[in-house]
Amino acid sequence: MAKPKIAFFEFTSCEGCQLTVVDSLQDHPELLDAVDIVQFREAMSEKGEDYQIAFIEGSCSRPGDEAKLMEIREKADLVIALGACAHLGGVNAIRNRMPLEDVRKYVYGDKAEWYATYPARPISAVIPIDAVIPGCPIDRNEFIRAVTYLLQGRLPYIPDNPVCIDCKLKGNVCVYQRGMTCLGPITLAGCDAICPTYGEGCDGCRGLISAPNIPALRTVLAEHGMNETDIEAKMTVFLTYQRMELEAAGHDS
């Protein structure tokens, strides 16, 4: 069987997920024997336009990005969103709740009109996607697992559990017991609870579980001393776009 041709693309992002892909090769150099990477601008000059699997990092944050996304969708059999920016809009979507003109003027002053932009969106808002590898950044082991699945003709599987499950399995002391706050109860697991393990509460980078009880978590956060501004800040590091969608659909967020 011919090796599947794989291409990497990036839109508005820090390119940290693609760097994590490079890092995953440190432990799994055999991956290069199993696939044929035809496009990866950050790491290589060779460029092929014939590919079956496209990994896309980054949000769509300007009109000019849409045509390129559609072209990728047209060419690839499978489109995989790589990381929180592509999956959720990521930190780029923080500004979606702010007046856009105000944001542009704050950064670019009276030259604001030189720089095209609009609210940041996950790529699934522009083209249909086949799977996501969540996280900010992606987890390198999960990436290897996902590619293994794809090579076996299956789509990557993300269990619909909250981070708390991973955290308990890890044997961590709950960060609430250490006087901190955490979005673990409403956030999709699969990260091995790396942030609580290193002493920080979860910020929700992998997105919401399918039935998050957000009002209950807000109560818990308030009981742990957070005011409305702090709760809103905590819930908008990575979850701005998903929560705006919930609000638009009339749900509590």
Binding site: E15, R41, E42, A43, K47, I94, V107, T117, P137, D230
Partner: protein
């Protein structure tokens, strides 16, 4: 006299971080256009910090860049700590420095081996090298893995750091982890030597253009975190006066701002640090510089990668020294130092892999009301274009392909980090 007409149009330059185009237009021997266009999407980080609790700043700004995430987090923490009157403990200073070396090593190894070396070895990327020169690729991967593991032991992971917080850390390495790192760093010294030997053999292009070099300087050490801003043209500035050095301005062909200090442009990064601080290098790093023919006062921008290799040596040797210090004191689980006040303005400055980085925050009652980040690549853009304008007339006798390659290699030598550079500052600041 050359009366050549040549157009170079490199759309989305490869093997750099972020999106840039090189556009050069020579009409009958006359240079009409010479630009490094920054076409990365604007990112607006400063605007996004406003109204948030001060503790969010380092978490969010580390997302500016996947390559220098630790550098952004460290600079952000120093800005916040300065604003709120927090003095980190000696252990925090040592751990941050060690963590920072992990990033310097990771980034420089990525650049020297995976982004730059393919140009000299006549291939498009590191991937064909895996077949033709597997020992070189395996060495690069081995060194890079150790650099990442170093950060992982201290802050959870390099992209994006977790355990770094205002006033200290939320997690600490064990003695066993530090011993294990020390052993691996000792073992890496032969790879460092091999890297220096590799760069002794690579034909670095000859090209000189004198410019101003700017870097942080300290009396006590080769500075990466904090210090005084120093210029090879003379003059020093406290980091709080960073705006007097950077003087940012906008140009239409770039979503990143340009800067200028005492000349029309200046250079930051490994070569600038070497030119400003070579007397503070570890003796083994100075020996590496001698071996590769890098001398203080170097004005060849292509030598920036050689200066990075010198810093690979410095960071490896000094990491071992830092671990010895930490082991000697013994790791304490310290609570982060609490703020002395909840309002204030502060500037943080660090020498991240690509040069001097500034974060400036204004905090009121614990919330960020103003933020400004000035990125190394933004500071280098005007200098890169000045180099391109000087270089093109010197190489017009070459083929279009060779001119293009020379320009691509020039831009790559600066190791630009474009997605970093495109979310520049506010113009009016309170």
């Amino acid at each position: 006299m050359t009366v050549k007409t040549v157009k170079v149009d490199v759309h989305h330059l490869t093997r750099v971080e972020g999106h840039g185009n090189i556009v050069v237009d020579v009409q009958k021997g006359e240079l009409k256009q010479c630009e490094l266009q920054i076409v990365e999407t604007p990112r607006f980080f400063e605007a996004m910090l406003r109204g948030r609790p001060y503790g969010d700043s380092s978490t969010i700004t580390s997302r500016i860049c996947g390559i220098c995430a630790v550098g952004h987090a460290t600079t952000s923490l120093r800005a916040t700590e300065t604003a709120l009157g927090i003095e980190p403990t000696q252990q925090t200073v040592l751990l941050r420095k060690l963590n920072f070396y992990g990033e310097i090593l990771d980034s420089h190894i990525l650049h020297a081996y995976m982004l730059i070396a393919p140009d000299f070895l006549g291939v498009g990327s590191v991937i064909p090298l895996a077949k033709s020169a597997p020992d070189v690729v395996l060495r690069a991967l081995r060194m890079k893995k150790l650099s990442g593991d170093l950060c992982a032991v201290i802050c959870g992971r390099h992209t994006h750091p977790i355990a770094m917080t205002v006033g200290g850390f939320t997690h600490f390495p064990t003695t066993e982890e530090l011993y294990s790192l020390r052993e691996r760093l000792e073992a890496m010294l032969t790879d460092v030597t091999a890297t220096v030997e590799l760069y002794q053999t690579l034909p670095i292009p000859d090209f000189e253009r004198d410019t101003e070099y700017i870097a942080l300087r300290k009396d006590s050490e080769y500075s990466f975190i904090d210090g005084t801003i120093a210029s090879t043209d003379g003059g020093t500035w406290p980091v709080s006066q960073y705006r007097d050095v950077t003087n940012e301005y906008l140009v239409p062909h770039s979503s990143a701002k340009h800067t200028a200090n005492q000349r029309q442009s200046y250079m930051v990064g490994a070569l600038a640090r070497f030119n400003v601080n070579h007397d503070k290098l570890h003796p083994q790093a100075r020996a590496a510089a001698d071996a590769m023919g890098l001398k203080p006062g170097c004005t060849n921008p292509y030598m920036n990668t050689v200066a990075q290799v010198v810093e690979i040596a410095h960071a490896t040797y000094d990491s071992i020294t830092l671990i010895d210090k930490l082991l000697e004191h013994g790791i304490q689980w310290e609570e982060p130092v609490a703020p002395a006040r909840l309002s204030g303005e502060g500037t943080g400055a660090c020498e991240v892999p690509r040069g001097i980085l500034f974060h400036n925050y204004v905090i009121e009652d614990g919330y960020v009301v103003g933020a400004n980040c000035i990125i190394p690549t933004g500071q280098n853009l005007a200098n890169i274009e000045a180099d391109m304008r000087a270089l093109v007339p010197q190489i017009l006798d070459r083929s279009r392909e060779d001119i293009t390659l020379a320009l691509e290699m020039l831009v790559r030598a600066y190791d630009p980090c474009i997605s970093c550079s495109t979310h520049m500052l506010n113009v009016a600041f309170e």
